[in-house]
Symmetry: C2
Subunit: 231 residues, 2 copies
Amino acid sequence: MSSLLSKHESVYRSIRERILGGTYGPGERLVLSAIARDLDVSPVPVREAMRRLEAENLITFERNVGARVNTLDDEEWEQLVEMLALLDGYAMRRARCRITPAAIGEAQRLNDALRAHAGGPADQHGEVMALHRLFHRTLYASGDNRYLIESLDSAWDRIDASRVLVSRWPAHRLASSVDEHDELLRMLRSGEVAADELERCTRQHSLNAIIAIRGRETPGQLDRVVLPGLP
Amino acid sequence: MSSLLSKHESVYRSIRERILGGTYGPGERLVLSAIARDLDVSPVPVREAMRRLEAENLITFERNVGARVNTLDDEEWEQLVEMLALLDGYAMRRARCRITPAAIGEAQRLNDALRAHAGGPADQHGEVMALHRLFHRTLYASGDNRYLIESLDSAWDRIDASRVLVSRWPAHRLASSVDEHDELLRMLRSGEVAADELERCTRQHSLNAIIAIRGRETPGQLDRVVLPGLP
DNA sequence: GACTCTCGGATCGTATACGATCCAACGAAA
DNA sequence: TTTCGTTGGATCGTATACGATCCGAGAGTC
């Protein structure tokens, strides 16, 4: 008689869920014994779960001190999104010749749902972010490269854990984002867009998130924004 | 009184070292109690080390059965190298405006050392691979994006662990590889090469490794090789 | 008042113990 | 001979116990 999940596995999932969902915010302390008590297991499986979370860069463990949820400062966040742009762009290039009409349809549905939220109440930010992430995942999963998908999932996890998008994503960005999504879907459907062009546009779409967040921090300086890596 | 490293940390490093160095080959079984005895610790820190290695995709843990060093079949290996090509290409694009003359010089030295090995005895394959990896690391580290560097290191680790390059890298590839390295350094030095072009060439350089390995498996079919993602 | 020292609680780190699970080898039945 | 059930050893999974370390609070000193 055994449960489907080992204790270490279920503990891992619980903690991860709470980090990605914001229950445990950035910088928050994770006390081993407290979590063990809370989840009704001994500290041993909790430690194992934490080692995995540490290896996934969601928490940092300090010896004889304990674990904290990782934080991202502005520069780190931008570098992470920049990598997301890179991976997503290439996944789209791969997806171009592989994606099924069904997947395109699914992505379109998600984007339409997203559009329905534009201008809506701000308290649905969590839901909007989930839809947005799912839209991208539908596309990049069609790229069908296991390592690309792994890395993208992991990068999105870190983005979610950082709470930056949830707390600082400017409302007006959603509308442009949805339009760019439509444009990407159009390029995918036509089949006549060059791979280079599709990759470039997808990359730019993600980089626009950086511009949006920066613009919100220092309004009026948008024209001085220098994005990395662009010619 | 404490050692500098916790037991779990030193165990982690030992096992990792052995996997990357080939002492533990792909598919090999890692028995908890045996390793604990070998390293003179209790099984608990060994389990923690294994959780990290599992999260890093170097081993796979099966419940109530144990751990094995991960293997990569041909398709997985190619997909991994393809991602390496992507990351490396972009890192080079970033490096273009950031790299120091010292770093370029260091890379040149490494490549010259590599050239000295071309045509040499095959039993220095391990050393050649280390030089080759270091050459690339010198350049992509200049890209100066923490997440890019992390991902590249991790991908190279998996490549090393797979032993594919060590066991199947055709001798003649080394010479062309070294020439391509020189060409990349030339492009970096001149400063007049467009970022897109530099990224494209770097990407292609890595993809050439796939062609070389495939060509070795099925000689005479080189012209039928279809590389993914290229226009 | 500022600084240092000491102490105690909180927390982590690891060993040990033991139950649970798997799996391969063996033997009995069809 | 093949199949299926049984059994024993190898191995993992987790709880418990206890020592080690850290860190903040308060006392003592300059």
